[in-house]
């Protein structure tokens, strides 16, 4: 690529982030994701009502000035439940993605840096895990350790490891093929140092993208698990469990299904868009480094 093409590709010769065109996906996704985080933060300080407060006299009220989203079959305020449920969603998401990243990123980097045979073997093991449905894993865990938020997080985290490992490995392979890694070896750098100082920083944008995408999947997975009764046990509010509890009233009080359903859908959409937008932003950069 000659200089002239380089000018056309990068809008400014300054820093990496400077001057990049705002990407609609990143903006919309970012706003929605921020909204979910805001909900969780607000819920620590204030909710309209105590979401666990059962009041038989207030059962199944429609939306009103007092209860913006109405109440459920136990008389609990729906809005409060949504607000507090976001905490669970985010908590599970962060921990699950954290587990996945902490295991998956080193796995991917190691698989890329070891001799070919061993790397392939690791990847085949990875594929085995990938083929395993996350839900099945979660059910197994719950059966053994009992249903709880913790088992949900760990199950989802482990189930997300393979996609991390794969993506990171392919990025790491690219990095390992560069001349600067060759130069580092020639300088006498040990493999571990190369992995930490060269490979990791250069796959960081891949990690960011994968984190956002996995987050969206984790949100959905948590909802599914809670819906099946394998996630957060009552009385802690959880969007998935709200769905499950409102199943039977699908036709009589559809709003009880719509509100948590919408919350889940929006959260997933938001994180997905954020991840996609970040990927679009970073991928052409990765190619420029060839």
């Amino acid at each position: 690529m000659n200089r002239e093409e380089a000018v056309v590709r990068q809008p400014s010769t300054g820093g990496r982030r400077a001057g990049l065109r705002p990407n609609p996906s990143v903006i919309v996704g970012g706003v929605v994701a921020a909204g979910v985080v805001m909900m969780a933060l607000v819920s620590f300080v204030w909710t309209p009502y105590d979401p666990t407060l059962v009041d038989a006299s207030q059962r199944l009220l429609g939306p009103s000035a007092r209860h913006w989203f109405g109440t459920d079959k136990f008389g609990r305020d729906v809005l409060s439940q949504i607000l507090m449920g976001s905490r669970t969603t985010l908590f599970v998401g962060f921990v699950a993605v954290g587990v996945a990243a902490v295991i998956g990123v080193p796995l991917g980097i190691i698989a890329a840096m070891t001799p070919r045979r061993l790397g392939e073997l690791l990847m085949r093991g990875n594929d085995l895990l990938l083929a395993f449905p996350a839900l099945l894993l979660a059910i197994m865990f719950s059966a053994v350790y009992g249903a709880s938020t913790l088992t949900a997080m760990i199950a989802i985290g482990i189930a997300s490891v393979p996609s991390f490992a794969r993506v990171i490995r392919s990025g790491a392979l690219q990095v390992m093929g560069t001349d600067y890694v060759l130069a580092a070896r020639s300088a006498g750098r040990r493999p571990f140092a190369i992995g930490v100082h060269h490979v990791l920083p250069n796959v960081s944008s891949l990690i960011t993208v994968q984190v956002s995408v996995s987050f969206a999947i984790a949100v959905l997975a948590e909802a599914a698990l809670s819906f099946l009764g394998l996630g957060t046990p009552p009385p802690t509010p959880s969007w998935g469990r709200m769905l499950q509890e409102s199943q039977e009233m699908l036709f009589s009080a559809p709003r009880l299904v719509v509100f948590p359903g919408l919350a889940i859908a929006l959260a997933v959409l938001g994180f997905n868009l954020l991840g996609d937008g970040l990927r679009d932003r970073f991928d052409p950069r990765l190619e420029d480094h060839r």
């Binding site: 690529m1 200089r3 010769t13 300054g14 990496r16 560069t178 001349d179 600067y180 060759l182 130069a183 580092a184 070896r185 020639s186 300088a187 006498g188 750098r189 040990r190 140092a193 100082h197 060269h198 920083p201 250069n202 960081s204 480094h289 060839r290």
Partner: protein, 296 residues
């Protein structure tokens, strides 16, 4: 006649690669990247290796730098046989021999600041006093001291090659191996970087191994040259002799196929250039694969 021991001595080095299987029953075919290469480089000498793509020069360089092991043969650097050593025994080589690479874009870690890039060999070898050394090196390669805080993409191709050179010189090596260091640079930048390399090699009394496909560059830089073709050295000798009076048919072909401004102004046409190349280049579909014929 006293013989100074060779800085580098290569004897019958071969390097074979196994291609991946295409059939379930037979193992993959072998690619013979190097087929018995031998040469000596004297201390302080400027030794050139010239060849086109696929001749094995890059493979040879990696073996010299201890980044790859030959299938057979011996490589002796500063009196020590390095071809069978494990990585941890090669520590001394990392201090004695350093490489400069061709592509200014991919030879510097885009995520590292220039001062960390240059200091990396010192970090790897546990040497202190790095700050001062980095400033010293930046000056030696003609860059401003404040360049240390910036990132590679903020520099031009020629400046990045200077950073590469600074990095290579950091551990005070005695041997410098340059793999096509100016091939990716513009003409005017090339002249500057070549001057820099020859100045440094002279001032620091380095042994230089300079690899290129560009004959005119090698002729300018090196005292002696080896011509490589398909994994073998076909001719070696003082630069002036090899270019002025090539003996091997491949060398003759190579020398006469290079476009020259002088000859063009004297009337040489494209047809004359082409007439010099005999049948060494096939023009039909070959099994050789897509890498021959390209400089990458």
């Amino acid at each position: 006649m006293s013989e100074t021991p060779a800085a580098i001595s290569v004897r019958d080095v071969t390097r074979d690669y196994r291609r991946s299987r295409t059939s379930l029953f037979r193992p993959g075919t072998s690619v013979h990247a190097l087929r018995g290469v031998s040469f000596d480089v004297r201390p302080g000498e400027r030794f050139g290796i010239v060849g086109e793509s696929g001749c094995g020069k890059s493979t040879l360089l990696r073996i010299l730098a201890g980044l790859d092991q030959p299938t057979s043969g011996s490589v002796v650097v500063d009196g020590t046989e390095i071809s069978r050593l494990a990585e941890r025994r090669l520590r001394f080589l990392r201090e004695r021999l350093q490489m400069i690479f061709q592509d200014p874009m991919s030879s510097l870690d885009p995520r590292m600041r220039v001062r960390d890039i240059i200091a990396e060999p010192l970090v790897a070898q546990g040497v202190g006093g790095r700050q001062g050394r980095v400033t010293e090196l930046l000056g030696a390669v003609g860059l401003q001291p404040d360049a240390g805080g910036r990132f590679p993409h903020q520099f031009s191709g020629g400046q990045r090659q200077r950073i590469s050179i600074a990095r290579a010189l950091a551990p005070r090596p005695g041997i410098l191996v340059a793999d096509e260091p100016v091939s990716a640079l513009d003409v005017s930048v090339r002249a500057q970087v070549l001057n820099l390399i020859t100045d440094l090699v002279q001032d620091l009394s380095l042994t230089l191994i300079f690899v290129s496909h560009d004959l005119s560059v090698v002729r300018h830089v090196c005292d002696r040259v080896a011509v490589m073709h398909q994994g073998q050295i076909v001719e070696t000798g003082p630069t002036r002799e090899v270019y002025g009076n090539p003996r091997h048919p491949y060398t003759r072909e190579l020398v006469s196929a290079v476009p020259s401004l002088r000859r063009a102004l004297a009337g040489a046409s494209a047809e004359d250039l082409a007439a010099a190349t005999a049948g060494t280049t096939q023009a039909g579909p070959t099994q050789a694969g897509p890498t021959s014929g390209e400089n990458r």
